[in-house]
Amino acid sequence: MTSYRPDALIASDISSYLRQHQNKSLLRFITCGSVDDGKSTLIGRLLYDSKMIFEDQLASLEADSRRLGTQGQEIDFALLVDGLAAEREQGITIDVAYRFFATEKRKFIVADTPGHEQYTRNMVTGASTADLAVILIDARKGVLTQTRRHSYLCHLLGIRHIVLAVNKMDLIGYDQQAYANIVADYAAFAQSIGIAAFTPIPISGFKGDNIAARSGAMPWFDGPALLDHLESVEVEVEAARTQPFRMPVQWVNRPDLDFRGFAGLIASGSVRPGDAVRILPSGRTTHVARLVALGGDREAAGAGESVTLTLVDEIDCSRGDVIAAADAPPQAADQFKATLVWMDGEDLLPGRAYWLKLATQTVSAVVRVPEHVVDINTLAKTSAKTLSLNDIGVTEIATDRPLVFAPYADSQDLGGFILIDKATNATVAAGMLSFALRRAQNVHWQATEITREAHAAQKGQQPRLLWFTGLSGSGKSTIANLVEKKLHALGKHSFLLDGDNVRHGLNRDLGFTDADRIENIRRVGEVAKLMTDAGLIVLTAFISPFRAERDLARSMVPNGEFFEIFIDTPLEQAESRDVKGLYKKARAGEIAHFTGISSPYEPPLNPEIRIDTTRCTPEEAAERIVEEIMGIWSPVL
C-alpha cells in the first residue's frame, strides 16, 4: 500500500512548491459523532488521504490494527487518532484532541471530540474555535438523539457551516433513497432549531468514498466530495474583516517614556494609520498614529492579526479597554441575558460572585437563578434552580462594572466569555451574551446632591459594617446587641440586622438550602450597604457560613468600612448551649442543611476581629469590639 505520495513539484522545483504553499488559508473544523459512527475512522482517513501518514506510523498502525483493531485484517484508521493510553484501553476518546492535515489549498485543524452525552463540555470547547462542523450519521441508523444534540450545540456556538456526513454508505449498498430519507429527516430538524443551511454528503470513511474525490459507487450524488467542500467554504476570520474595527487591548507596551503602544488581536474590521477610533468604555476619541512591527511599520491590518498600534493623543487606555471604529463603537453594559454551558463538577450557586473573563476584560459577576435549562436530547425547556455539569441554561448576569461587549451572534470575541470559580480558579462555565438588559442601559445612578459623606458627616461618624459570623449558638446576636447598646450610649447612629428582623420580612421567601443561604446573605449585604450609604454603623448577626458571601459583602462597601467579626465558639460548646434546641433537632435529622451538622461552616481566614468565647464573657467581648472600632476610628471629616 502506498502511504505517502508526494507532489511531483516537491522533487522537481521545491522553490515554486514552497511559494504556492506559503499562501494556504487555514480552516478549523469539528467532527461530531461517536466511535460507532466511524468518526475516528473518518479523521484517520482524512490524514491518510491527504498524505499525512508516514511509513513508520503506518507500520505501527498495521501492527496495532492486528492487535487492537476492530476491522479484521484491514487497517483500523481509528487507532491513528485515539490518543491517551487509558483511552486506548477503553476504546473511546474522552477529551478534545486536535489533528492537523493539509491539502494543496488549505491547512486544516480538526477538533476531535467525543459524542457521549456527559462530555458536552468537550464538544462545546471544540466547537468554540471551529469554522465548520461535520456531523456524522451512521447511514444504517439515521438521525439519532445524539445527532440532534450535536447539531444543537454547534448551532449554539454559532458555527455557520454544517456538513451532514452520512457515513457507512458502503454498508447499505450505496442506497440513494435511504440517503435521501435521512437528509429529509435532518432538514426538518435543522430548520426547527434555526440552522439555515447545511451541506449533506454521502460518504464511507472506511472505503474512502466521497472523501478526497467523488465516488464512482454513488454516481447519483452531484454534490462535492468532503475535502473539496472543506477547501472551499469561507473562513470566519475573512467574514469578520468586513465588520467595524474592534481590538480588545491585551497589553500596554511601554519600554520607555517616549513610546506607548497598545497590543492586541484585532477581533473585527481593519485599521490603518489615520483612522478615527474610540476607546471604550471611556468613550474618548483619537486617531491611530502607527502600526508598529518588527521589521518596519505596517500600512494596514485586519481581523485575526496581532498588532501593536499607537495613538495620536495621550489618552487613558489599558488592558481590558476596547479600541473601536469611532463611528461604530460597541456598547457597554453591566446586566445581560446570557446562555451558559456549565462545565464544572460543582453546581452553579446563583448569587455567588464569579470571575467573568470576556476578551481581555475580567470582572466580578453574579449569576441569577436560571430562567430555564435546555434538555439537549429533547430540546425542551425546563425550570431549574441551578446548573450542573453539562447543563445548558439561560440566565441573567450582573457585573460589578460595565463590560464592553457585542451579542455573541455578532462577535465571538466580544460576546463569548468564561466564568471562573474565585476559590478553586477552575473554569466553571462557558457563556454567550445575548443582549444587555434594558434596565442596565437605561437606569443610571442618580448623582444625588446629598452624598454618603454628607450623610455620615451630619451624624458625626464614619459608616461601618460590622459583620458578625459564627455557628448557631455561638453568641453572635448577644454580643452584637451589647455592642449596639454601647454605640448608642456613645451617641452613635446604628442599626442591627439579624435573623429576627430579616428572615420574617425581607427574606421570608427563602429557605436553608445553599442557594437560599447565599441569596439571604446577598440581600442582607445590599441592605447593609444602603444603610452605610445613609451614614449608619450597621451590625449584622448571621451565621453566614460561606467565605465567598462574606467576601461579597466586603466588596460592597468602601475599603476600611468592613469589619469581619468572628465569634469563635467550638461546635461542642455551641451545641451544648443549644439555646433554641436547634442542634438537638438537627442531630435527629429534623432540620436539613444545619450549619456545623449537615452543612459546612467556612471560618474566616483573616477576620478584623476574632472573639474566642471560651476566654471571655459577652460583656468583655462587646467592650473589646467597641474599643477596636473606636480605636481605629479615623477623624470625622
Binding site: S25, D56, T308, G416
Partner: protein, 313 residues
Amino acid sequence: MLQSPAVPAHSASSLPALTHLERLEAESIHILREVVAEAERPVMLYSVGKDSAVMLHLARKAFYPAPPPFPLLHVDTTWKFQAMYALRDRAAQAAGMDLIVHQNPDALAKGINPFDHGGLHTDLWKTEGLKQALDQYGFDAAFGGARRDEEKSRAKERVFSFRTASHRWDPKNQRPELWRVYNARKNKGESIRVFPLSNWTELDIWQYILAEQIEIVPLYFAAPRPTVERDGMLLMVDDARFRLRPGEAPVERSVRFRTLGCYPLTGAVESEAATLEQVIQEMLLTTTSERQGRAIDHDQAASMEKKKQEGYF
C-alpha cells in the same frame, strides 16, 4: 471633533486573505501576550532547537519595540552539541534577553551521562533540572515549544497546561479552553506550562523559518561530520567525551539532524540537504515521522504521556 465623512472605518477590507502562517503567528503572539499580562513571573524555556528559535522570534515580534519582558531558561545537560551552545548565547543577546542556564547540581556531582546512565540521564538532567530551576527562581508560567502534532498524547494537551506544586500533569483534570479566552489563574503552588506553538506542524515551522529568515543551528543542514553507527542510529562524535566501543571509529559522513538534543542520544540522517529549501524538500519527500530520531520515544508506546505526568516538559 474631526471625522472623515468619505470613508467609514469599517468599509469592506481590501486586505489580502490571511495565510495559515499569518494566523498561526497571530495566535501564538496572542498567547505570549496573554501570559505576560496575567502571570507574575513568566519564563521561556529555550532548548536551542528550531521550535525554540521560532518561539523566540515570535516573542520578539509580540513585544517589539520592547524586548520580551521575561528571561530565557536553558535547562542544560552539559551534553548538547557545541554548535547549540554557540547559537544559544548569541540568540539571547540579539533578543536583548537575560539567559539563565541551569545545570542540575546533583547530576553534575554524580557525573550523570548518557553513556552510563540511560534513562536516568534524561530524568535527572532534564526532568529534575527543570523542576529545580522553576522552583529556584519562582517562575509561575513557563513557555515551551511543544506542538500537538508531535505525538499522540500532546494532541490533547491544552495551550495553558497546569502543573501541581510537585510539577505533575493530570490529563483527566484539564481546564476547558474556549475561543481564545485563556484562564491563567492558578492556585497556590501551581505553575503553568504554556505552549504557544500548539497548533503548528513541523512543516509550518520550517516554512516560517524560511519566510522570516530565522537563524537556526547549522546542524539542521547537511555537512560532513564525524559519525559512528550504533544500535541503528548514526551518532555524531561532537567532542572528546564520546566513548567509542571496541571496533568503532568515527567515519565522516554527510549528515544533518531533524531534531536536536544531547548529542550522544540524537540520531543523524544521511543527507546532502545543505540549504533550508533542500531540508524542507527532503522532509516532504521523507517517509518517517520526526521523532523517530529521538531515543526517548522508543521505550514504550505511551512513553511521552508517562514522562509528562512525571514532569517532563
